[in-house]
Structures are given as structure tokens and as C-alpha cells.
Symmetry: C2
Subunit: 692 residues, 2 copies
């Protein structure tokens, strides 16, 4: 049997006539600008970007702190991003009578541009390797727990010193599981205005079904504008618009902020994710979504209020399930085991390395038995699902933290983060009581079910009452929806918080010590040890492979490269691009049934549209969630598209890069121009980005 299977596998490989795409080296890696993939670009694509090219690429890109990426596309601060990144902004700007998700939005004049309530945009102005300083500080500690404390305080010191000196938002970020530390200095913008968004139906054609699918027919783009001092910023660095857009086989780059990958994790860490971490998240998201679906049934307005959150949860669920399927597959785990064995083998073969790093993997694995039950308690010991519940705890924690020395505070309350923290906390975006009550009730029911009635966090929350009683009473009586009230508590400091009788603040005061205890336990018994083992493994990896492997993603700016390219699937070819004709085909194929109905304004202009214009396209550069809204640029640094998704074959991106069928998906730059000019009568906007 084994023999015939092998023979068959051989036949199978020989059989298909398909053009096989030349694969010389995988286009893997989300690279930091401090270590760009110059060697790979030279060897594989004969491209040698100058430092000026790299600096420009970095400075024309930006991070949207609601979890997405964007790019500057005019000298006047115009930002290109995804509709689904702007979705929560549009939702917050909408009311029962003005539903911008339904109608789309176009500000024909600057005066009509709508101010977003709580979006912060960051541009990475400069970066600096501070690994030596952080690691030197940590070495003074007697143990892993102490080292972690020293690393944090050194990072806080470096950040503060930088902010004081430059005025820029300064953050120390860790890379390679603690193998490197970099100081990133950001220019920060907080006056962001909505310029253009198509109807949600145009951006999300195919809805949850087509999310993560390809071929795809989504116009998932939007334009914002960055203001300073009530005027559009004047920018030196912005991307020019490509005249033709993405072409097949073309070298392209994605510049954005990929959220999180776990590719350098050990097998033990991945097994924890597979057997505990992912399952908790899945279960919790499902419960939350089901509660929102129930709430949505109560009225059309309730459905509108919940739609953005439901859409976001569905997105997370699909990705998380795909990740979990990957972890549960033999293929992925075997690959991870092989990779680990390879590195451990190299370490074992070198006595010095073996002495320094040899025990790290076992040390890592040994952490999880004790961590697992505490991680579960921590996962459930918060009310973040409810915006008001989250605000209450943040206010209580803020009151306590700001009185401490900077280096001793919880990370969110360090000086370098305080401005952004307050900006988010004091957002005037509407908070709906009925929505909050539904969400808080569901959360309280969940923690009761998961942690049991005897758990201290559960007791602190419920105080002898039922989840619905607590949620109804707290949400109906709290004043935290009022921004001025929140501001008064922040300004009043610890004393004001301690004196408050607001029912949510009262609950938060009971919760806070429990939350702190859990955080402390995890810091003392897990985080420091995990960093110590991770750092040793990172050093082993540097020793064995150099810096030829990119660090894991952490929602900081990265450069990915590769080509515009289709793929083979189920014995046929999937094309590199789609066209407007395909949109009408797919809609018609479902007899225009939702969510496969063409958005009204597009349908109305059907005859005007050139059906051969490219709509979406796929490419190999490495991406993951957080890259939404990233510019896709060509060798000349021109925008050829805006990244908005990846296909299902990339669900495993968190753990590995798949070049065979995994692809990222963008809206083609030509589709944006065609749409602005022929559907939405937004010629002036098209002129602005095309520099006309």
C-alpha cells in the first residue's frame, strides 16, 4: 500500500499540464524598515530600492489606530484606506435618519468633510534599535520575573526620554519574542475627516459569504483626510497614483501594519493556542454574536446599531476558525515540529549554543500547565465586551495608575500612551443603552457559566444578583455615556473615582483588585519566563539563521513584497484579477439575492461602466489582519491597489506563509478611478489622487 501510494503521488505530480509558476523562493515575511529584505529583492526580483525609496514608502504610509492601515495619496492629507476600516467611523457618524453605511458618502467640498470622533492616525517618523539597552538593563536582575520588570522600566524610560526630546509619540516594541527591541517615534494625527465612502453593499458585495473569498467583486475602499489646526495637512510624503494599476506578474509591495502572527512560536505555545487559547476565543465570540443577533431582532434600529459589531465578530470568527483548522491539521503541526527540530538540532550540534539555549524549549513547555487555568480566569475576568463596562474599569485603573511612577504603571497608562488613551476614552461616539445592556447581560451570563458562582470576579460583578438584574440596573443608572461625566472623573483623579456612586464605577472598583491580582500572577509566573525562554530561542535562531527570518507581526509598520499572481485550485486556474463584468455575473447568478445584490448606485450606472476594468486582484506579498487598507505599490512607489482581504487559503497566515494558493486581495486602482468618475460623480476627488 505505502508503495503504491508513493507511485500514485508521483503520477499525480507528473500528470497535470498546468503551467507551474516558477517558485525560486517564497515571498515570505513582513519586514521592519530597520531590516528590509534587500537581499531577497535583489536576488529574486533584481530590485534594489534606495534608502530614499524605503523612507518615502514608510512616511507615506500610516496606521489607523482602530486597527487598520492606510496611505497618503495627495499632498493635502488625503488618506486611502478600506471601507471596512472606515466602517466603524461611518457607523458612528450615522444616525437613525442618516445611514452612511447604506447611502455611502461624498464630501463635495472640504466644508462637507465630516470629522471622525475618535480616530488616531500614526506615521512612523523614525526608528532606532534599542535591543542592547533593554537587554543590558534586564541582565541586572536575579531572575526572570525581575528581568521582565527591568525591561519594562527601561522601555518606559527610553520612551519618556524620547518623547521629551522629540515631542513625538515614542514606543518601544519587542520583536522576535524578545530577541530585538526598537524605539518607534510616531507623528500623531487626531483630526481625521470622512471624505468618501461607497455604499457598504458596494464595498462588501457578497457579505459574510464572500469575506475571505476570491474571485471577489468588492469596492472596499474609502477616503479620509488628515487635518491639523483645522486645515488639511500639507504633506511631503504621499504616494502617486499609478496610471495603469496592477499588472500580472508585476513586483508589488504592501506597506502596512499587520496585526499579529505567531510563526516563531514553539510547538508548546502553538499547542496551547490549539487546545485552549483559540477555543476560548471562539466560544466567547460565538456567544457574543448570538446575543447581538438576538438583540438585532428587537427592531430595525437595533439591527443597525449592532450590524457593525456583528460584522466584525463574524470576520474574526471566520479567521479564527480557519486558524484553528490549520493548527488541527497534520500538515501545519508537522511543519512546525520539523522547523523546531531543525533549530534544536543545530543548537544541539554546537556545545556553546546548547549550553546557552538548549533548555529553552523545555522551559517554555513547562510554563503551560500552571498558566492554562489562570489564563482562563484572566480571559473571562473583564467586561470589555460592553463599551461602558470597559470605560468604567479604565477610569478606575487610570485613577490608581497615574499616581504611580511612570515605569511601574500598567502598560496602557504609561505617559507615552496617555494622550491616545484619553482621546479614545473621551470619544463622543454614541453609546446605546439598550445595546449595552444586551451585551453586558450576555457577558455576565458567560462569566457565570464559565467561571462558576464561587469565582471572586463573578461575585464582584454580580454581588448576589442575576446577570440581567445587574446589567439592567447598572446600564440604566450609569452616567458614563456622558463624555463630560467621564472627563470629570478623569480630571478628579483617584479621589473622584473613589467617591463616585455611579453603579458601573462601583462594580469596576470591586473588579479592579481581582483583575490586578490576575495580571500580577501572570506577569510574575508566566510573562517574564516566557520572554526569557523566547529571547534565548530568538538568539539561537539568529545564531543559526541570522536575521533572514522576519519577526512576527505586532501591528507596527512592515514591508512585504511579491508579485501579482493567480493560482491553481481544484485543478483549474484562479485569475489574478476580476472585472466589473464579474460583479454583474455573480449578482445575476444569485438572481440579485442579498448579499449578492449590486449596490443601487452601481446598478443605476451599469451601462456607463466599462465592464472590462479590473475590479479586485490577488498577489503573493505576506499579509495578515491589520494590513487592511494598506497601499499596494509598484517599483515606482505608485499606488496600484488597496489591500483589503486575503483568501481562505491564508487563514493559517498566523502560523505560516502559504505561497501555493494563499493570496492577499486588493481593490484595483483602476476600479477606484472608474467608480469615482462614472458612478459617484466624484471627479474632483479622482483628479486630486491622480494629480490632475
Amino acid at each position: 500500500m505505502a508503495r503504491s501510494n508513493r507511485i500514485f503521488a508521483l503520477f499525480f505530480a507528473l500528470v497535470f499540464l498546468f503551467t507551474s509558476f516558477a517558485v525560486t523562493r517564497a515571498d515570505e515575511g513582513m519586514w521592519i524598515f530597520g531590516n528590509p529584505p534587500l537581499k531577497q529583492l535583489k536576488e529574486k526580483y533584481n530590485f534594489e530600492p534606495s534608502q530614499a525609496w524605503l523612507d518615502h514608502a514608510r512616511l507615506a504610509a500610516c496606521r489607523l489606530n482602530n486597527g487598520g492601515s492606510g496611505s497618503f495619496v495627495s499632498a493635502d492629507g488625503l488618506v486611502l484606506t478600506n471601507h471596512h476600516v472606515a466602517r466603524s467611523l461611518l457607523a458612528k457618524l450615522s444616525t437613525e435618519k442618516r445611514d452612511l453605511l447604506k447611502t455611502g458618502f461624498y464630501a463635495r467640498t472640504r466644508a462637507e468633510e465630516l470629522k471622525c470622533q475618535d480616530l488616531e492616525i500614526n506615521v512612523l517618523y523614525s526608528l532606532e534599535d534599542v535591543t542592547a539597552q533593554i537587554q543590558a538593563a534586564a541582565q541586572k536582575a536575579p531572575d526572570a520575573k525581575g528581568a521582565e520588570t527591568l525591561r519594562k522600566s527601561e522601555a518606559a524610560r527610553i520612551e519618556k526620554e524620547s518623547t521629551d526630546r522629540t515631542g513625538l509619540k515614542s514606543t518601544v516594541i519587542g520583536l522576535y519574542e524578545g530577541g530585538e527591541y526598537w524605539l518607534y517615534r510616531f507623528k500623531k494625527y487626531t483630526d481625521i475627516r470622512m471624505v468618501f465612502a461607497p455604499e457598504a453593499q458596494a464595498a462588501e458585495f457578497g457579505g459574510d459569504y464572500d469575506n475571505f473569498s476570491y474571485p471577489r467583486y468588492a469596492l472596499d475602499f474609502a477616503f479620509l483626510r488628515v487635518y491639523e489646526n483645522d486645515k488639511p495637512v500639507k504633506l511631503e510624503h504621499y504616494y502617486k497614483w499609478s496610471a495603469k494599476g496592477a499588472a500580472e506578474k508585476e513586483l508589488v509591495f504592501v506597506v502596512g501594519n499587520p496585526g499579529s502572527t505567531d510563526r516563531l512560536r514553539t510547538v508548546a505555545q502553538l499547542e496551547y493556542q490549539r487546545d485552549h487559547g483559540n477555543l476560548m476565543q471562539l466560544k466567547s465570540l460565538l456567544r457574543r454574536r448570538d446575543a447581538l443577533l438576538e438583540y438585532s431582532k428587537t427592531s430595525a434600529e437595533a439591527a443597525r446599531r449592532a450590524s457593525d459589531t456583528i460584522s466584525s465578530i463574524n470576520n474574526s470568527l471566520k479567521r479564527l476558525q480557519g486558524q484553528q483548522e490549520g493548527l488541527q491539521s497534520q500538515k501545519l503541526m508537522q511543519q512546525k515540529i520539523r522547523e523546531e527540530q531543525d533549530l534544536r538540532g543545530k543548537v544541539a550540534a554546537n556545545p556553546e549554543w546548547q549550553k546557552l539555549y538548549g533548555s529553552s524549549w523545555d522551559e517554555m513547555a513547562a510554563l503551560f500547565p500552571a498558566y492554562t487555568p489562570m489564563a482562563k480566569r484572566q480571559f473571562y475576568s473583564n467586561l470589555n465586551a460592553s463599551r461602558l463596562g470597559q470605560i468604567a474599569l479604565q477610569i478606575v485603573q487610570y485613577g490608581a495608575e497615574v499616581t504611580k511612577p511612570n515605569a511601574d504603571r500598567l502598560a496602557a497608562y504609561r505617559d507615552s500612551n496617555l494622550e491616545s488613551f484619553k482621546f479614545a476614552l473621551l470619544s463622543p461616539a454614541p453609546i446605546y443603552g439598550d445595546f449595552e445592556e444586551a451585551v453586558l447581560t450576555a457577558r455576565l451570563e458567560e462569566i457565570l457559566a464559565e467561571l462558576g458562582p464561587a469565582d471572586p470576579f463573578v461575585q464582584a460583578c454580580l454581588n448576589g444578583k442575576t446577570p440581567s438584574e445587574v446589567a439592567h440596573s447598572a446600564i440604566s443608572q450609569t452616567k458614563l455615556s456622558d463624555v463630560a461625566f467621564r472627563k470629570s472623573l478623569i480630571e478628579g483623579g483617584k479621589a473622584a473615582v473613589e467617591a463616585s456612586t455611579d453603579p458601573l464605577i462601583v462594580i469596576a472598583r470591586r473588579i479592579d483588585p481581582i483583575s490586578r491580582d490576575l495580571t500580577k500572577w501572570i506577569q510574575d509566573n508566566f510573562e517574564g519566563q516566557q520572554t526569557a525562554a523566547g529571547e534565548k530561542i530568538a538568539r539561537a535562531r539568529f545564531a543559526a539563521y541570522g536575521r533572514s527570518i522576519a519577526p512576527d507581526a505586532n501591528f507596527s509598520i512592515r514591508l512585504s513584497y511579491g508579485v501579482v499572481k493567480g493560482y491553481e485550485l481544484n485543478t483549474t486556474l484562479v485569475p489574478y484579477k476580476t472585472t466589473f463584468a464579474g460583479l454583474f455575473d455573480r449578482a445575476e447568478s444569485f438572481d440579485h439575492r442579498e448579499p449578492f445584490n449590486v449596490a443601487p448606485q452601481i446598478l443605476a450606472r451599469r451601462a456607463k461602466i466599462d465592464q472590462t476594468v479590473p475590479m479586485d486582484f490577488v498577489y503573493t506579498p505576506d499579509t495578515i489582519g491589520g494590513n487592511s487598507g494598506s497601499p499596494v505599490i509598484n517599483r515606482n512607489g505608485e499606488v496600484v491597489g488597496v489591500n483589503f482581504d486575503s483568501n481562505v487559503h491564508r487563514f493559517v497566515s498566523r502560523y505560516t506563509y502559504t505561497e501555493e494558493t494563499g493570496r492577499a486581495i486588493a481593490v484595483h486602482s483602476s476600479a477606484i478611478i472608474e467608480t469615482l468618475r462614472k458612478i459617484y460623480d466624484a471627479g474632483p476627488l479622482a483628479d486630486e489622487i491622480q494629480g490632475k
Copy 2:
């Protein structure tokens, strides 16, 4: 781990929002008209077809003996089938200067209709259960080998008696692995003329890549006309054309001739296929295709001559590989083991059944160790890959067989088959010497490699020379390309064959006894025993489940039922139909690169076509190769499409029915009308089928 996997599986099942299609009972089964699925149709679809409905459905359908199906669609003998079924006919009607595959064909008048050289069409006029007679005859034998001989002679007797009495072509067919025997009486047509075919590029858009794929944009249809006495036949039974064509969720039927399934086979039989049978076929087809590809490189004309065969081999390869993947999957084999265990369990629980049938599965399994090496010898001991090699052996065998009593002959030479045999043997279709030499050389090299130089068949073929020497000498000197020469040998009988010095006849005379010995060994040591065990298992199955399971397919007419329905794939939905807009999208998506270029005549009429017209569609009724060209009809017996393919998820159809994602694919009836009227200026043909 096991526990968390189960929990996860539960989540996974709960998670997706997708509309789940109501599944009450699978639409499985290719039913004979002697046992139509009346109960299932009534229960699931509340449809009760009358006997007249069933008779009409059967009499308006036909079998094309080159391996496809068709239907009558006008009173004047017009036959609807697939372009790919008509492909070999079009190839034979083509010359270097008139390439009907490239240009398509339309006979504007009856006089222009081109006579096909060797196509026979059969219509099943009547059918009769003769199980009791056949089984009674077999019971007179002392052992399995003798019983097989008696079954065959009784079948031959029944066939001859029927032909003598009715004048109809009469064949006894076995069903349920020997559980039933039916006498089928066919009306036979041999004057078939080509009426219409689009360009091959329109019929095969996407080429080998899109073969077995969906969504699909293929106009895979053609029209033939049946003549008798040089006039179009006048038909009482033909299908009317549906005004609207297939609609989503509509109940539809496929009436056609599915080639071959192995769903009722035992696990031991399937293991033989998986470990030996399929692998031999795959390896041989690959070798043959590679030889043809080499030959194709020699000139454009060589490429034209080989293209039809290559296309057919590629089709077989893709299907065979899919079947093999299915057999190698845990899922399928586990299902087969469960099914077998269920039946064996029911048998074991009933002492009488156990006594009668209990040993059958072990008896079946015991046959394969001895059979396997002999099956390999038989598989390689023929020259059928070469048309001339095949003709030579057929002539030699004919000479010997027709002198024997009818019941003693090899099946192909029984009286009931002789007319069809001669019609095929004496086809005037062109045979190309260089093509034959290439194919024969490859075949001789293959048998030498597989059987070794000491094998008697190899020695009989090569006689001490090399494969290329033998092939060159035999093909360059044989006169078998000449139909008159073939006819003279047939008419001259055994004496003429024995006297012939034609080099291929000489080789065939040396081969014939070896081939007979192998056939005899297999008849005596395998076939009878397999039938005996199979018959017992069939009886056990009838006893346990009644006739609620359809028999395996055997290229005789069947009725399948189900609905027009899309499916879920990779978390999104695949629509039930495609449109002309999708054709242009897919072509444009590949920048019109072959094989994704739109056929010239369609491209020229792009603006004239209604892009919203349905092109292809999918549905659940059970089909397999041989169903190509089958009509898809609605409750009213009207044509709503013509079946031409199934998707990759049906590769396992040979072994099991898959309702979840497996679908058959048809050209929509509206696409045929749109195409005839707006692209090919064939309005009169459209009028004829629409009854205008």
C-alpha cells in the same frame, strides 16, 4: 485533545450563518425505467409521474454509441447532445483545410447536413426482467465456472430469440452485480448527420483547466439529425423545449446513459481498484498522452490529428485521479467499510441469510491474490491504443468466432452485436499512418517495459525486433487503413484471415491465442466466481434493503432526479447558474490568454448578447461519465438544459454519491437559444427546437 477537538467540531457546526439547504434525503441513484424512484419522488418532491410520462422520457432519449447520451428535440429527428460527444465526429469530418473544431458548423439546409461516418444511436424501445430465466439456467451447473457459461449462453439465447421475433437489437444486461438481468430491446439508427456545432473554443472555454470545474462558461452543445432511408426520421417521442429553462430549486431529471459506477462493490474489490486497477490505468494513460504530446510537436497538422485523443485522455486522467484520491481518502473507505459492515451485520443476525450469503465477502476477497498478476497481463496484452492494431485483432477474432455457435462466442461477436460491430469496424473515418505509428510504438514500448521481454505477448508482438522497428514496418506496410480491404477480410472469413500476409494481421494472428488464453483464465478463475459472490451479496442486499438502492451504472439508460441548486464551498456560496457576463469576466481576468479566450464569433457579437442570460447551471441528480449529452428535463418533460460535466467534488461518483458539494453541470436551454439566434445566425434551428 480528543475532547477539545470534539468541542471545536461542535462550534464549527454552529458557527456559520450560511443558509443550510434542507436535506431530507439524498437525491442518489441512477434508476432503471423498470424500477423508477416513484416513492422518493412522491415523498420528497410530491411528484407522481405517470407511466406515459416515464415512457415518453425514455423514448425521447437516446444513447450515442461513441460513449455519450442525447435526446430528440424535434419531430424531425433532431438530436441534442454535447459538443464534446460530437467532437470525435467533427474531427473525423475535418480535414487539414476544413477544421470544424476550429470554425464550428451549421447546416443551413438539410442538404448541407454532413453524414457522420460511424455513429450508431440506440433508443430503448422496451425492457423486460429476465432474472428468473438466467438464474434458473445457471443453477443447473455444478460450479461457479459452469454457471457463468450457462448464464452467458442463456443470455445469448434470449437475445437471439428477441431479435428474431422483434427485429430490434436485443441485449441482456446484468444489474446489481448479477442480482438482476434485463432484456433491453433497442431501435438502432446509423445514418446520423451533423447539423450544428459551435467553435470548440466556445464549447470548451477554459480547456482542460476548466474541465470538471464550476462556475463554468461552456457552450458544450451540438445538434445532430437522425435519418432513415435518406430522410429525417419522423418521431412520435421528442422533448419539447422549455420556455424559461432551469430555475433555482426546480425539480429536474437527467435521462441518459451513465457509464460505470462501482458503488455496490465490496471493500476487497475497491481495494483492488485502489492498489492495482486504477494505478495501471493511470500509468498507461499518462504514457499514452505523453507519446501523443511528443507526436503533436512534429507539425501543426499532427497536433490537429492528435488533439481529440489528447483531450479525451486528459479528461479520463483527471477523473481517474479524482477517483483514486477518493479511494485513498479515509473518508470514502471508512464509509464503504461501514456500509459493508452494516449489511454483513444484518446477514449475520439472520441464520438463514447467514447460511446463504454469509461467506460471500470472504469468497470475493479470496479471488484477488491470483487474479491480480493475470489482470495485469491481460491489461497490457492488447494493442487497442492503436486503431489499426485494434482492427487487426478484431478481424482475426471475428474470423474465428463467427464459425462457432452463437452462445459460445466472445461477447463482442454474438449475433446481437454483429451489426454494430461491423458498422464500427468498417467506418470510413480517416486513419493517419504517422499518428498510428507513434501510438503503436509507444504501446509496444509500454508492454515491453511492463511485461518484460520474456512475456509471450511481448514476444508475439516484437518477434525479436524493437518496438519502433515493429511499428514502423507494420504501419507502413499494412493495408488495414483501406475500408475495402477490411471488408474483404471480413467477407473472406477465417480462410482469408489465415492466408493474409498483411503485417498487422500476421501480428494479430500471433497475439490472438495468447489473448484468448488470458481471457479464458480470467473467465474460468475469476469472472464466474466474482459473479457468484456478487449475486449472493446482491440477494443479501435485496433481502436487507429491498430494491431501495439503485443498481450500478453500465452505460444503459437511467433516470436521475433532484433539484437545480448551488452549494457552499470554502465558506462562501457557489451560485446555481452562470451568465454570459461571467464568460467575459473570466476571459478578461486572464487577459484573454488561451484557453480563456472568448471564441471569435462570440466576441464579435459581444454587444448583441444579453449578458444576463444564464449560460451553465448545476443540479443534484446523480450522473457520471456517459451522461454527457443527457437532456435535463423538468416536470413537464421539457428540456431545460443539456448535461455536459460534473464538478471536481463528483470525482468520487464512481464509488459514492455526494450531495453536499457534488453537482452535475449543464448548458442552460436559454443559452442555446441566445447563441443560435444572436451569434450563429441559426434562427431556423432555434425555431425548430422551440416549435415555432
